[in-house]
Amino acid sequence: MADLSVDFCGIKSPNPFWLASAPPANTGEQVMRAFEAGWGGAVWKTLGNPIVNVSSRFGGVDYGNTRLMGLNNIELITDRPLDVNLREIAEVKRRYPKHVVIASLMVETKEEWKEIIRKAEDAGADGLELNFGCPHGMCERGMGSAVGNEPKVLEELARWAVSYARTPVIVKLTPNCGDITEPGEAVFRSGAPALSLINTVKSIVGVDLDRMVPLPRVGTGSTNGGYCGPAVKPIALHMLSQLARHPDIGKLAISGIGGISSWRDAAEFIALGSTTVQVCTAVMHHGYRIVEDLIEGLSDYLDSKGMKSVSELRGLAVPQYKEWGELDLSFKVVADIDPAKCIGCQLCYVACMDGAHQCIHIPGKTEAESYAAGHLHVPHEIPAVPVTARGGGPGARVPFVHEEECVGCNLCQLVCPVPGCITMKEVPTGKAPETWNDRMEKGTDVVPGGLEATIRAKAG
């Protein structure tokens, strides 16, 4: 059994799984139930001067039969009195001393920061998370993402916090910015030892087409919300990678957030540099119980790779992130369809025909029919391989990949409904590895067929 415990800038956690600052971490009773279920820590629903919330508050994005691919909310920070939250934090820490409680904080003035940090730490919080990320409501009042968007302001506030705090300060970043390394560098300069990201993405989930009001509707109007859930994971992974590979910011402890629902998601965040991960939407959808799969799945994965602890996994994928110009232009893959798994739906065919390079053929067509269907190249022979999967219809044929024409774009594999049916197999090109940057250096970066003005300029 791999060791799942982690050390997050001095904060010891039994595992890397924390509840994100959000409705699942709203009360002490909830946080204690989460700890009982197995969560290693919780970032408390953001403390500050209590606010007033609206009804309704959430909007969801479904895709086909999948509910809540994305979730959007216009709820603000805690609406409960500060002393109630602090009392509950103290009670949770008394009953669960080995679990981590981080106080998420959001206030305005220097004096307010000073007071709330003292009170949160006196209550027993193991660390502080500065909420510079919330992109709805609070930012109109000059807090949340309004701070995260202004590196100088962020740096100043973070410096205050670091100077007042006895416990580690984590700065939570907003993805609603142009270049995440700018606020990241501000965090580094402030002296804070850690950051967390991403907070939610500014969003409108839809429009009520009868009332002509965006969603979620509050009476006759709506406002932008913060978007989260599985849909934002790729945005989060990218920003995480930019921070983790940065020579300064990469030294900070990072708590990854953004659409984490399974152990695999968590492992990906850790491989790209997170020490802990925070989860919200998946818990809002399915409850605290999902942590069992997170813990077990990550532990079994580490065991299967011969890794003894989470820290061995941390950051392993970071060096393989490269600029486009550093990618090998000689590498090639082509699609390979397994007749034993193909069910004959021809979704790969239509995707390749209309969305890619017309290199997948349906067996049984004449050359003339193939050209009429829109193929630009037709191979001499298209083998009629019968579908042998249990799910295949009688007489169905496996579509055929014309490998010479396949550019290896992955699209067919991505649309195939049967996992593992289409694989992208590597084919040797016989060419030495060469990147675009190599070509720039050698002066072979002009591709025939371009503009005359460009050629003239190059010729100089």
Partner: protein, 449 residues
Amino acid sequence: MIRAEPFVLPPERLEERFEDKRPRYEPAEATAEANRCLYCADAPCVKACPTSIDIPTFIHKIGTGNVKGAARTILSANILGGSCSQVCPVEVLCVGACVYNHWEREPIAIGRLQRFAVETTLAQSPRLFEPKPLSGKKVALVGSGPASVAAAAMLALEGHSSVIFERKAIPGGLNTLGIAPYKMKGDEALHEIAWVLSLGRIELRTGVEIVEKDTADGQVTAESLLRDFDAVFLGLGLGADSALNVPGEAGPGVYGATDLIERIKSERALSFTGAKRAIVVGGGNTALDIAHELALLGLEVAMVYRRGEAQMSGYAHELDGARLDGVRLLESRQPVGVVREGERVVGLKVVPTVDGAAQAGPESVIPADLIAVAIGQARATQIAKAFAGVALDAKGRVVVDAATHRTGNDRVWSGGDCVNGGKEVVNAVAEAKVAVADMLQRFNEEKGN
């Protein structure tokens, strides 16, 4: 891998001709089906499972690629979750309770997902659980059916040794010798037993009979078990098939149903030469099983039942399945004699019934070359009675306290068919769980003293 099985069935068994009705999912099929599951909370499928497997959790784990974790969830609630995935009447248990049923959508194929998770995992990593250190306690289990095997496995994981005593040469009881082959074959059940034995701490002695007084080799007395072991578990199963007790019954061509199923599953090159038409007498699940099996072997099968379809104790889905494969149901008829020409069976003489009661006439003969009698089984009373304090009820079932599955003897527990009169494998496991939990509590108390 699991070591080579110590127990092997002969080749050329009739059961090998049967196709699996629900073959194991391919990984892609399992993923697609798992992702259809709603991951219900407080789920009805869990409540419908006698062993309370956390079904939504294990299916969720299959969906995330955590197949090993899925197997852990299954087997920690039901150590025989492998065979249960194939033999459970899921239509009336978990699958029947799936919320999709009420929404006119296909319920989740829970049994097939369970089979996928368990088989995939045990093929790759049979050492799924780390047994607790040895306690020094030793339990004797009488009979090697699912109740005893499950109990021994759970005890092994808790650190207790056990010895299973089996009268037959092949272990597993009905799980090996009584399951319809289109659900599970005998060697699959033996494979599961081999996995349970691989947990260690379990000794399996076949060809040993438990008796009141030993008079021959291969016999062990009940008294010696009580003397040599810290606890005894009776997983006796049921006895021989009941007979019709009608003229002409004795002789070739008339079989007890469980006996015939056992021969289909374990006898080399069994054949029903010349037999074209079969009659199965009875309306329970054993009757449906043998009728369905004979139909799949190519015989023309009629079931003769004393009452009407609505009164049958066999499952409606099993009757539907049997009918699809050609079985006919003849209701409200009572056999009164077997008609023979010389030795050969040629038919079954029946009279009509009203509310199950036979009428005086008219008699009629239903032609048949083979008759299987599935009207119940005797109880294994002799063995149970050999244990002082163990009581039987009026129907010959071992009497236990429902909360503990302890018998009238303070050190004897019991579960499975001998207690419930003949239910599913999953019920046997559930009862073994109750008994083992009580044994463990007892061992703990003794340790404390």
